[in-house]
């Protein structure tokens, strides 16, 4: 496979994942805004914007954090290069460039999703349509992954696409968790105290983990439990441990196909060993923020090594 095509597939799925995570975060913020007071809602929108590193761009345009401004900025603002609309556009552009490396079904799923989303986001999104927008974006992710799983050859291209998915998902979850960290802080000194459950819920909702968490931890809700769930629980498909275990499989598959291991495999092994040895106590000892910083750096280094190992660029 061409290095350029591998590059395109890897990033195509990173963009898709980022769009989907933006939508999930936005959904949580939207829910928060409906159930909380204005000040909390404003803080929630600020953190949503900041989680994806968009604060400077947003504040250059808007002086305040209102829901309408925030969700339109995240979804469709032409000045926001990381908007959902821009991401989905980039997914389709990459898919066109890699057209002969993906199945027809996958292309159609992407093209149809793009048509639907770009149609929906052609005009500012009113409050009544936010839910629909989020739902369509999530469904696009499901349709694209489904088409890929059901129709793509298990060749290099498939593994580059999946690797992109998990690199990005782990990165997004780490960013969101880091951003919400301050919400968890107070409870660390008062283990067992009754922190507002609405805020707990919010942390979980941001990564669509609220139901899964409740299901696994009936009644037991505390900071440790949540962090453990989002970082270490490899049953939850958006946890850091799950993403890294999946990424490791993809990189191993690539190494098998190529008959040789590269720097990415070595870094991956290092990072995986580190996570396997981690306990929730260890994480809190080093500080969640420090842990997440270290993790996103390691995750980024793996992504760079993949690009290098497989000649994404000349």
């Amino acid at each position: 496979m061409l290095g350029r095509t591998a590059h395109g597939l890897f990033w195509m799925f990173r963009y898709l994942e980022r769009a989907e995570n933006t939508a999930r975060l936005l959904e949580a913020g939207f829910h928060m805004a409906l159930t909380r007071d204005v000040a909390t809602a404003e803080e929630e929108w600020r953190s949503a914007i900041e989680a994806f590193g968009l604060r400077a761009g947003y504040e250059a345009k808007h002086g305040t954090y209102t829901g309408h401004q925030a969700w339109n900025y995240l979804l469709r603002d032409p000045e926001n290069q990381a908007s959902v609309l821009a991401m989905i556009g980039a997914v389709r552009t990459n898919a066109r460039a890699a057209r002969n490396a993906i199945s027809g079904e996958l292309w159609e799923a992407i093209n149809e999703s793009w048509m639907e989303i770009s149609g929906l986001l052609a005009r500012p999104v009113a409050q009544g349509s936010v839910g629909e927008a989020v739902q369509i974006i999530r469904r696009a992710g499901t349709a694209v992954h489904g088409a890929m799983n059901g129709s793509m050859l298990r060749n290099e291209g498939f593994h580059f696409a999946r690797a992109g998915t998990f690199v990005e998902r782990a990165d997004c979850v780490a960013r969101i968790l880091d951003m919400k960290y301050y919400l968890l802080l107070p409870s660390l000194s008062y283990v067992g105290s009754s922190l507002d459950t609405g805020q707990w819920d919010q942390v979980l909702r941001s990564v669509s983990g609220d139901r899964a968490f409740r299901w696994l931890n009936a009644g037991q809700i505390d900071a440790r439990g949540i962090v453990e769930f989002l970082v270490l629980d490899d049953r939850f498909p958006r946890s850091i441990a799950f993403c890294h275990s999946a990424l490791r499989d993809e990189l191993a598959a690539l190494a098998r196909i190529h008959g040789t291991e590269g720097t990415s495999n070595a870094l991956m092994r290092e990072s995986a060993t580190r996570i396997a040895d981690l306990t929730i106590d260890g994480i809190f000892e080093m500080g969640l923020h420090n842990f997440l910083l270290e993790f996103t750096a390691a995750n980024g280094a793996i992504a760079d090594a993949i690009a290098e190992d497989y000649r994404f660029q000349s």
């Binding site: 061409l2 290095g3 066109r96 460039a97 057209r99 002969n100 159609e108 048509m115 000649r311 000349s314």
Partner: protein
Amino acid sequence: MYEADGKFDEMRTVDGSVRPAYRDYRHWYDQQESAFLSRKHREAEIAFRRTGITFNVYGEQEAEERLIPFDMVPRIITAAEWRRLTRGIEQRVRATNAFIHDLYHRQEIVRAGRLPARLLHDNDAWLQHMVGFTPPGEIYTHVVGIDLVRTGPDEFLVLEDNARTPSGVSYMLQNRETMMAMFPELFTRVPVETVSDYPRRLAKSLAACAPVAAAGCKPTVAVLTPGIHNSAYFEHAFLADQMGAELVEGSDLRVVNGRVAMRTTRGYEPIDVLYRRVDDEFLDPLTFNPDSVLGVPGIMDVYRAGGITIANAPGTGVADDKAIYSFMPEIVEFYTGEKPLLPNVETWRCADRDSLAYVLDHLEDLVIKEVHGSGGYGMLVGPAASKRDLAAFRRKLKAKPQNYIAQPTLSLSTCPIFTRRGLAPRHVDLRPFVLVSPEGIDIVPGGLSRVAMRKGSLVVNSSQGGGTKDTWVLKD
């Protein structure tokens, strides 16, 4: 009421009966509910949007990708008509290939006084680098598209020879796919020749032209595209996909150890046959346009050393110049020793003083074309032109007569299209696709039928609002 306004209609005879080619189709059509047909008409557009079969239009930001209108009534050709056509096309393509080889070698045709030397010197597509060089298998025109028009039951004329990079074959294939998906029962009732193996035949034909460097192993074929912003990108990707070939861009390629190689995830791997959809001048910045980023620095040296086959060969464009076109009957006769089976459209070369005088006198009745133009741009259709356009062309003709040819306004045949009011006749042309290799000339039974969607219009180019139709060659 279906009333043909042209001289010849593909479906209907003058006395109102249905021609044999359309008998089965028309029978089926008359049994369909009009609501059903209208629904299918809408479905077709949705299908094309969904599969992303679009073409890009330069300079239009809003509608960066447009659909070429698709009409769901097939253009139908009988087996006997097709046999006759293919004989004529084969003869013409054989002559064209021999002609190009001669031009870059001894130029016998010029020595024999059958072609003025001026036509070579004035020709923008002439490539000095090709002089004395023979490409692998002596093949220049690996893929050719011959544009045909019809003016009567037995009158097919060649309007244009596309010997550089003919496009549109993906529409031939997708139009058929769409028709089969929409009207499966039609194909059980009408015996139609298949076109779907074109990509396989293309891959085979290209592989048969592999260079010496590839001897002994299965040749690696790649399609070179200028990139996703090119108007024909969809076709490049489609053909690469269907052939199982890599779709490469200039930035993927470099010369490594005397071969043109592509950057894969495993390192650089050599390419044997490059089906390039990039124009000559962008092919090699070291040899041609130094600013080009679409090509490969040094590819021409590799080519001349026998390290790669470039399809079509650089410099092939000399043969599809419109001034050369006017000599095609002589060219066919010179290289095949036979009378041309397919006639040209009568053509006045404005470089000749007498012709120019005639053309200026009859501007209102003629079609004027730029010698190097294509795609329906820079063209004057006399009968449809305003007084201002006519005056402007009169000035251009007087200033640079050698840049123009003139042809009569042909009464192109009409073919039914589906409209809200039922079937209506529109003018069509036909572009069959021809594959050339040392193993022979291969013509897929079908082609691209382009249709003017507006009533009375004679311009079928997609860039000018023309549409396409599925083209059926009937089995015996």
